[in-house]
Symmetry: C2
Subunit: 135 residues, 2 copies
């Protein structure tokens, strides 16, 4: 039953996972994916497993997880013993971070909107935005 596993080049994996090929190498150095076996000439030969890993990582990145957090997620998903609670907790912490960021950005949005509005209504030579920033 020794099945010859299909392998993929970096470019192929990059395309199918939507992860930049340089980034794939970076993730390997970072320790997020297993180092693939090499061809006689030293080229990396990725497997389906790598494709799955990279997809996992891309999805996690899209949800704003840091590489460090993703490392933890991967470790936890390997554990499988009572890890779900920890995954949940990690996600919950991350969610709080996101909420904080949204709050901060909304504050910026509000202030900027007001400043621009004042600018539009402006008749004096001075710029209200510069004034606000300087005051």
């Amino acid at each position: 039953m020794s099945t010859k596993a299909t392998t993929y080049s970096r470019a192929q994996v990059a395309k199918s996972t939507d992860v930049n090929s340089e980034t794939i190498r970076y993730y390997e150095n970072y320790g997020l994916i297993k180092p693939p076996t090499r061809s006689a000439g030293g080229h990396r030969m990725y497997t389906k497993e790598h494709v799955l890993s990279l997809t996992f990582i891309r999805r996690s990145r899209e949800l704003g997880f840091t590489l460090h957090e993703i490392k933890s997620l991967i470790d936890l998903s390997d554990d499988s013993e009572k890890s779900c609670t920890q995954v949940r907790d990690l996600s919950a912490i991350h969610l709080t971070d996101i909420k904080t960021k949204i709050k901060d950005l909304k504050k910026m949005e509000k202030t900027l909107t007001e400043m621009i509005k004042q600018c539009d209504a402006n008749t004096s030579p001075a710029c209200p935005i510069i004034d606000v920033l300087s005051s």
Copy 2:
């Protein structure tokens, strides 16, 4: 009328502007603030003008402007001729960026919230979050 201008040390300026003292040096190298004159021993002697500049920069940073954008804002505020329109436009572009970021973060927030909810309602041994990220 040669008034001896009051000067401040880096630590003093850092304290009064709420900008880290190392950051002040960084801003100088970056070209955001004018290089202050030096004491005989080579120590920087900041003026009130520097304090105002740094406050301007801090405020702008709090509104999420990049250092590059702030450089433009400073250039425009020095111009004073029909610069208000340009300041307004720069701010409007920046506002769009912020809105995009908020949108992205809200999407993350929504997905994460749903995932965590599923986790809480979970009875199977598998972790729904890991499942979603892997799928």
